[in-house]
Structures are given as C-alpha cells and as structure tokens.
Symmetry: C2
DNA sequence: GTCTATATATGGATAGAC
DNA sequence: GTCTATCCATATATAGAC
C-alpha cells in the first residue's frame, strides 16, 4: 500500500502557495500562521518546511508569484492599430482594472513595503525582470509626442507613477476611504467612473497646452 | 515611601501610545508585540491593560491619534489671499508633504485597510469628523470654476482622491517602487519633482480645455 | 499607578515513522 | 512525499503585592 496521501507534489506545492498568498495578504508577514496556511491547503505544517524551507521562503515565493503574474499580463496588452491617445487610455484602464482584479498583489505589496522591501531586494528573480514593464508606455509616449498630442519633457517613470498611484490607492485604501467618504471605490459603478477619471488625469497631465495661469 | 516608579499617568499613557504607533505600523496588528511596546515605553505590559484594555484598545487609540493629527493640520492651512490656482497648488503640495512627514499615518492606514477598516468603522470619534476635510478644497474648486480657470463637472471627492492617491502612494509604496525603478521617492530632490508633478496632474485634470482627441 | 510572578495558550521547528 | 509527535520558545492576560 502507498503512503497516507496520494503523492501530488506539484499540486500540494501550489495549494500551499495559494493559501500562503491569502494568509500573508490578510494578516501580514508576522501575523500569518503557518498552521492556518497548512490547514487551508489540506496538508500539514511540516510540508511548508519541506517545500519552502519555512515562513520566509514561502512568503518570497508568494511575492515572486504576484510579480510574475503582472509581468505576464502586461506583456499581453495589445496596442496594435491604436493611436497614441487611445493607446494611453488603454494602458491607463489596464492598470486601474488589474489591481481591482488582483487585490492580493496590492495587499502583498503593502506587506512588502511594511518591511521596506527587504525580501524583494533579495530576490534575484524579481529584480532581474523589473525594467520591462515601461516599454509599451514609453513608446506610446514618444509616438504621442512626435504627433504633437503629448507635450515634451515627460519622465516616463513619473508617468507610470501617476497611473500606478491611482490604480493602487483605489484598491489599497478602499476601506478607509470608503468609510470616511461613504463611497465604495471598487463597486462596478464607481469603477467605471474611476477609469474615466484616471484617463482624464493622465491625458490632462500629458496635454500640450500649458496649465492655465 | 512612594511606589516603584514616579506616578506619571499622562506621560506613561502617551509613551505607550507613541510606542504602539511605531510597533503597529512596522509589524501589523497581529504582528505587534505588546511586550515590545511596553519595553519601548519603559513601562510594563500590565499597563497596556490598565490604560487601554488590551491590544485592540491600544491600536484604536493610535489610529484615532493619527486621524486627529491630520485633521488639525488640515485646518491650519492658510489660503488667504491666494487665487484658485495657487490655492489648489498649495493644497496639492500640502498633501504630498504631509504623508512624507507622517509616514506612521500612512503605515497605520495600510494596516487598517488590511483589516477592511473594521476598527475605524467602530470608532465614533473618527467617523464623526470624517467630512470636514473637503471644505477648503471644495470652495477653491468652486472659486476656480466661477473664474473660468477650472472646468465644470468635477466631483470634489474624486479630486481629493487624485491628490491622496499621489501623496499616499509616494510614501506607502516607496520601497517596492524604489527597488524596481531605482528611484528614492522620498529623497529631498525627488520630493521636489513629485510635488511639481502632482501640481501638473491636478491642474491638468482641472484645466478647462478638453483633452486632445 | 506600577511592578512581579505566574497560569495558560499558541505555534514554530524538527525528528522519526511509514 | 507525507504524517504524527514532541520539544521549546514566546507572549498574552491576570492576580496580587506595594
């Protein structure tokens, strides 16, 4: 007869990882209980050590997973046939939507920042791939500038920062903001408005006309 | 002879609160150790129970404290004699600067959102005072619209959302963003740029000219 | 108002069987 | 590859002295 459980290393590893993302995201690095993660994955705590070496390895694996996911999603954006303004709108809406649809990434980044990004800094995997995401944004920006619809002198990292700030805050602070202003930021109706607001913000920032003085 | 320590209730209570803000902010609600807080405050753990009733009471007191502080700071902004554009700039810069100077508030809000704002929702003190902060922003917006320098159809909560998103992200995600893009968001030099960027974003959003299509 | 001491609980990490 | 059992560290919460 075989062992107690069917031996499904890949499946069990994946279950642990999924449970870990949730538990770390909702209770923090220290607050997360390996016991809870193991129970949720329908496996024993010992397996956390067997597969990931412990709390830190598990956390790092979860963090790498969310970064891998957003990189893949970004690469899949299709801007073919769009003019610079429409392409910029699409990039903006992507970012608003992505964080709403992937709140776990937002939560894990909050945890990671709580720890001053010490784990991310130690991850070869993540750092190595960091730069790639700005290429579509940068080429869209250049096209628009060449066409005269965007103004010159824009730092592409700052432009990215504007988009990420709006998209991230919309999810990361939805509960406190919602409580204070009685507004459910991530409801479908509000999401439509936020998407449009973000496009207006980005296009206003890039508009060639100087701000009125 | 008197007791072991000089009896300084107000001072000790304040020390506990200060230590608690730091510990909660850096380790989360569950991760925070009452032992560490007590040690930092140079007092014993038993006092946490005596003054605040336990972990939750202490956390709630810390949260109320940061909200009280930002409300006070907002009320102190002086817009007298400024036109709507300059007033809007000042409000924008205030928000960028405030979060940089008060990273503990940013961290505590992140924790609170991790818990879906359940403690904030139970705080009479905080909820009651929630609305007041938008008054100067709203009147500046109306003045600018009346003068024709801002476009109509702006939701004041959304305008606030833009400012807070930029200011908050700048601090809350400084470490991950900095690691990925090799940019120290909160350095003095970058802060100057971010302040200017935020003003351009806000004024671009409010500018009467439609975005170029 | 503050301390010390302690009862109690919880969970991390590892060893060893199958 | 997975489980059970256990050792050990740590922290909470309270009781009681001063």
């Amino acid at each position: 007869m075989s062992a107690n459980k069917p031996k499904e290393p890949e499946l069990n590893r994946a279950s642990l990882l999924a449970a870990a993302s949730l538990e770390f995201a909702s209770r923090g690095f220290q607050g997360a209980r390996l016991e809870v993660i193991a129970r949720e994955a329908k496996i024993t705590r010992a397996m956390v050590y067997y597969y990931f070496g412990g709390r830190e390895g598990l956390y790092l694996a979860a963090l790498e997973e969310v970064y891998r996911h957003i990189r893949t999603s970004e690469r899949a954006i299709d801007l073919d046939g769009l003019g610079p303004v429409d392409a910029m709108r699409k990039l903006t809406c992507f970012r608003i939507d992505y964080y709403v649809e992937n709140p776990l990434m937002v939560a894990l980044l909050a945890i990671e920042n709580q720890h001053k990004a010490e784990y991310l800094k130690n991850s070869q995997e993540i750092s190595a791939r960091a730069g790639i995401s700005l290429e579509p944004l940068e080429s869209t920006l250049r096209q628009g500038q060449a066409a005269g619809v965007f103004r010159p002198g824009i730092d592409v990292v700052e432009l990215h920062q504007v988009m990420v700030s709006l998209g991230m805050f919309n999810v990361s602070n939805q509960h406190t903001f919602g409580a204070v202003f009685s507004r459910a930021l991530c409801s479908p109706e509000q999401l439509v408005r936020t998407r449009e607001m973000a496009c207006e913000v980005v296009l206003g920032f890039l508009a060639p006309q100087a701000s009125p003085l």
